[in-house]
């Protein structure tokens, strides 16, 4: 009976597996859930959901799937309140789902009861009630078989009793969490690690020592190796000032995480877009500039280039000479960007603006094109994707 629900979960984007479904069946068989729907919900949740970010999604699917069953069954026992039809229909039952309810028994009876109620309501409607005007009578057509009849009372306002556990959706804010702490960023950045043994040999290589000792006829022959270091090199370019002020905190966090995570980290600041100069100290940005050409010459191409910026500016700042808001630039920013990308083939752009807003800013599109679509939102998920692209 849970198979359609299982597929609904998978359609809903949850990675529920057969193993988990079987576990749930096993649990049900051993009588864990007892008779209560709440228990069943808890059990299904603990067996099928493995990520708190999916809890809300599970609640919604569970609600959509089982609400009908549960409600319509309990509706037989009690009066249907007036507002029940004002609810928007959300779910249409498919043929197989309807069969499912039938197989659970009582559907015919239930529908009969519902039909009776419907007719009763209909009469009242003729009395001049407004509700059916917008909804129309057709949903309650000849069969009275309409899914809306089953869906009534979503949110549990129906009898003003306690809200069903899954309708509370307590895990709402955990879904697609955008909260990024330094710790999380570090973990995301850690995926970029590439270990290599470099430098002085100061660690005992146990395996080699044993091997060599054995070959040496049992006399100790100590072997040393250099410690493993993270050999990834990162060049971080941060947009600073202007529209980036809104994102200072997240940039701070990214920066501090990156700094502690990578031994070879070089960072530079730029304003709005990259031109012939960048700088390392914001207070002395006019006095101490580093020519971009020097950067590309100094750091070899095995550095990974990460831009952090909202890419929100006037398109002129990217494509025209002299477009910069701060100074006269001989060459357009796009040319400098191309030069940087040529030197550093592994490059991404992290954008602290939510992805949904990107489409409304032409300059973001321009930058995306320049970056060959390697622009990612500055969230854990975005960072993950970005790191993948960098590897």
């Amino acid at each position: 009976m849970l198979i359609p629900f299982f597929y609904l979960l998978r359609e809903g984007g949850m990675k529920t597996s057969i193993t988990e479904l079987l576990t749930l069946h096993e649990a049900l068989k051993s009588g864990l859930a007892g008779q209560s729907v709440d228990d069943f919900y808890f059990l299904a949740r603990t067996a099928l959901v493995k990520d708190e970010a999916h809890l809300d999604r599970f609640d919604r699917i569970f609600g959509a799937y089982f609400k009908g069953v549960d409600d319509s069954l309990s509706d037989l026992m009690q009066e249907i309140p007036e507002e029940w039809l004002q609810r928007q229909a959300e779910l249409s039952l498919s043929e197989e789902e309807r069969q499912l309810i039938e197989s659970m028994g009582g559907f015919e009876e239930l529908m009969k009861a519902l039909q009776e109620r419907l007719e009763e309501q209909d009469e009242r409607h003729e009395g001049g009630n407004k509700w059916i005007g917008t909804a129309g009578t057709s949903p309650f057509g000849a069969y009275g078989y309409n899914p809306e009849g089953v869906r009534i009372g979503q949110e549990g306002s129906r009898n003003r009793s306690a809200v069903k556990v899954w309708d509370k959706r307590e895990y709402r804010n955990l879904d697609d969490s955008v909260e990024l702490g330094t710790r999380n960023i570090k973990v995301a950045l850690r995926r970029l690690r590439k270990f290599a043994r470099e430098g002085a040999a100061d660690q005992l290589d146990l395996n080699d020592t044993i091997d060599k000792t054995a070959r040496n006829g049992g006399m100790l022959d100590i072997r040393m190796v250099p410690e493993r270091h993270n050999a990834v090199k990162v060049l971080l370019c941060l947009d600073i000032g202007g529209s980036m002020d809104d994102h200072v905190r997240i940039c701070e966090e990214t920066f501090s995480a990156a700094r502690s995570e990578f031994k070879h980290l070089e960072y530079f600041y730029f304003h709005n877009f990259v031109y012939e100069n960048m700088w390392k100290d914001n207070r002395r940005r006019q006095a101490e500039k580093t020519p971009t050409l020097d950067i590309t010459h100094k750091y070899p191409s095995d550095y990974k280039l990460i831009f952090v910026g909202d890419a929100t500016m006037s398109p002129y700042e990217i494509v025209y000479p002299g477009g910069s808001v701060e100074h006269w630039n001989e060459e357009p920013g796009a040319a400098w960007m191309k030069r940087l990308l040529q030197t550093y083939p592994k490059a991404i752009w992290l954008n602290p603006e939510p992805k949904a807003r990107w489409d409304y800013t032409p300059s973001v599109k321009l930058v995306q094109e320049l970056m060959n679509d390697r622009m990612y939102p500055l969230t854990i998920a975005g960072l993950d994707e970005g790191i993948k692209a960098l590897r």
Binding site: T23, A27, L32, D38, F42, T46, E52, E170, Y171, L206
Partner: protein, 285 residues
Amino acid sequence: MTDSRFTGTNSYIATDDLSMAVNAAVTLQRPILIKGEPGTGKTQLAIEVANALGKPLYEWHIKSTTKAQQGLYEYDAVARLRDSQLGDDKVHDISNYIMPGKIWEAFDSEEQPVLLIDEIDKADIEFPNDLLQELDRMEFYVYETKKLISARTRPIIVITSNNEKELPDAFLRRCFFHYIKFPDQKTMAKIVDVHFPNLKKDLLSEALNSFYKVRDVRGLKKKPSTSELLDWIKLLLAEDIPLEALRTENSRSAIPPLYGALLKNEQDVHLFEQLVFLDRRANPQ
């Protein structure tokens, strides 16, 4: 099959969904993975489950350097090497140098034990994958002695995670999962009650009010959690803070006493003081 069901203990309040998750794990003998905000009693759960069901507890605390193998056993090659140089007789039996790990110990237990694998996310990303077979079959092979170690009774395995790393799907599929959400005020009152049974009702409600207010301050980097609340109440009691000090007419016009126990981050303390200051200026008394 297990006649004893876990419903919390007199020192641990378990919500219905948590009890269900634990009971499912106990009945089906699968590991249970517990996640949640720091300080919501994840580690405590294993201890309480062991207490409530009267089973021995084995704790395996994971560090960033922990390897899966260490939970099974370790072969002390260096000791054997040393002994061989010294001509010790022990050296001829390799089993002298096999040190059982926590999982082995739990597998060896006479009655069904509770095995806590604490903060599994601290270890390397591959760590959970290395334990798949062991947790599934509850057996492993000792290559040095060519012996198969299998569990006498499948232990109840409680695994906690702080979400610092994502765990592999294959691992997750074998576990039950529960996310301990932050308790609401009602549950919290119960939790405080089991820890401080003689706490006056009004002090408790005032303390809880202040606590939730602090939690609601926007922009806090680290929100205080249950364990911080318990520490704070302990302090309040120790210092014998009068009820009036907690009771404030205006929500933010006073800093709760001993707030150092609640806020653990310098910036948070700053932010909080600033808010209080702003509020005082806006509503002079």
